[in-house]
């Protein structure tokens, strides 16, 4: 609702996503973890760390905001240059969404240009997260089958570890 009216600020954007995350964490992530299952999450708190900081939210604040989250046992970061991601989106004729392109920041009225500026900042933040949280980087410019092989190797190695244990961030 807020998104449609283009009325979110960087902080309300961040807090609404944290609320949604908290809800999914409590209902969809923690119960299967308690049951000993594997949870595959398409995006996690790290998305917020990168995206919200790119919008100007305080780095330490957003990390503390998500301190209720369970720290993943393995985090895969699919790294791709901006041009490649933009080409892929364009090839599928996907219209860039307002917030996805960072249009709320007013850096450019052109969606593609805005996307390029915004995602550039997002990628910088991701690079910081790789070292800070030990993310496993997968080169997403590779062929899909090659990427999948890398992912399977990383996951296998993780599963061979003696115990799956959820740890707080």
């Amino acid at each position: 609702m807020g998104k449609k009216k283009n009325s979110l600020t960087p902080t309300t954007f961040s807090l609404l996503h944290a609320t949604d995350f908290a809800d999914r964490l409590l209902y969809n992530i923690v119960p299967p973890l308690k049951a000993g299952m594997i949870v595959i999450a398409d995006r996690y708190a790290y998305t917020a760390f990168a995206r919200d900081v790119a919008r100007g939210v305080d780095r330490a604040w957003v990390r503390d905001l998500y301190s209720f989250a369970v720290r993943p046992d393995l985090t895969l970061y699919f790294r791709v240059p901006i041009d490649v991601s933009l080409d892929r989106l364009m090839a599928r004729r996907i219209k860039l969404k307002f917030y996805e392109a960072g249009m709320d920041m007013g850096w450019s009225l052109n969606a593609q240009e805005s996307f390029r500026i915004f995602q550039g900042k997002v990628l910088e933040e991701y690079d910081r997260l790789v070292t800070e949280f030990g993310l496993s980087v997968v080169n997403a410019s590779l062929a899909i089958t090659d990427q999948q092989q890398i992912v399977r190797n990383l996951v296998s190695r993780q599963l061979e570890k003696p115990q799956l244990e959820a740890v707080n961030l």
């Binding site: 609702m1 807020g2 009325s7 979110l8 600020t9 960087p10 902080t11 309300t12 807090l15 609404l16 944290a18 609320t19 908290a22 809800d23 964490l25 409590l26 923690v30 308690k34 919008r55 100007g56 939210v57 305080d58 330490a60 604040w61 990390r63 503390d64 905001l65 301190s67 209720f68 989250a69 369970v70 959820a166 707080n168 961030l169």
Partner: protein
């Protein structure tokens, strides 16, 4: 009754990601951010003032605020009022969430924080910039108290609300639970949320109200020093409380740099 002991419902800020104390940089300063703030919104030297009136449900806040507003406006101050769940962004969502049963305490805390953030950026900060007196019916302290009694980590809550601006004045309308109960019952009766029925302390609304409000009052009391509350005895007649409020507000505003549009002795603006 016993809260579920999962590691996620009780946010902890222990370990290396220690949250900064409120006002870690030289104590709390009125008109400044408590914590990390909004890095993209500088607020230094804004002429407006925030006056918050805090206190539990049914203590008489809105009556006092209405009287204070009228008095300030007569003196020529521009006044803006704000209060919980009045944000255009979040009000419908919060009302919906309250009427259903899908929210837990953590998502509730975050929804309220979103409501506050929206009002801070869209109402409070623009009003401060334009030199208004912002009268806030409750501020972050009610949110801190409600979440605190529900077992949410206090350090995490303070970090969460680190984007809030420290008010110039915080009045706390203090009351005892017996007086409060009689007042609420004779006015409108006990409500589900004000009675803390979500905490599932039992089916008796009277017992639940008493126990919940007692906890809330203790929580407010524990914040009085931390946040510099000016405590007013809310058991007195409305006029007596209002006199106290006006005296303190007057003393503060007359020593401040805020301006009114009809200062005594100033010639009225001539129509051109």
């Amino acid at each position: 009754m016993t809260p579920d002991k999962t590691e996620v419902t009780e946010p902890k800020s222990d370990g290396k990601e220690q949250s900064p104390e409120f006002g870690a940089n030289g104590g709390i300063q009125a008109g400044r951010y408590y914590g990390h703030g909004l890095p993209y919104v500088p607020i230094e030297h804004y002429p407006g003032k925030i006056i918050a009136v805090e206190g539990t449900d049914g203590v008489g806040r809105s009556t006092q605020i209405a009287l204070l507003r009228e008095w300030l406006e007569v003196q020529g101050y521009g006044v803006v009022e704000t209060g919980w769940t009045r944000s255009a962004l979040m009000q419908p969502t919060i009302e919906l969430a309250k009427s259903s049963n899908t929210l837990n305490k953590l998502t509730f805390v975050l929804l309220y924080a979103t409501d506050f953030a929206d009002r801070l950026e869209k109402e409070i900060i623009p009003a401060l910039k334009a030199g208004f007196v912002v009268l806030s019916d409750r501020y972050i302290f009610s949110a801190l108290a409600r979440a605190g009694v529900r077992g949410v980590d206090r350090a995490w809550l303070r970090s969460l609300y680190g984007f809030a601006i420290a008010p110039h004045l915080v009045f706390y309308l203090k009351i005892d639970v017996d007086t409060l109960i009689r007042r609420v019952l004779s006015a409108r009766g006990m409500d589900f949320w004000e009675s803390g029925m979500d905490m599932k302390g039992g089916d008796d609304i009277y017992d639940s109200f008493r126990s919940y409000q007692n906890k809330l009052l203790r929580e407010y009391a524990s914040m009085a020093d931390e946040f510099g509350f000016r405590v007013l005895d809310a058991r007195r007649p409305v006029d007596a409380i209002q006199d106290d409020l006006r005296r303190q507000v007057q003393a503060f505003l007359s020593n401040s740099d805020i301006t009114t549009d009809n200062l005594p002795g100033q010639p009225p603006i001539q129509p051109t």
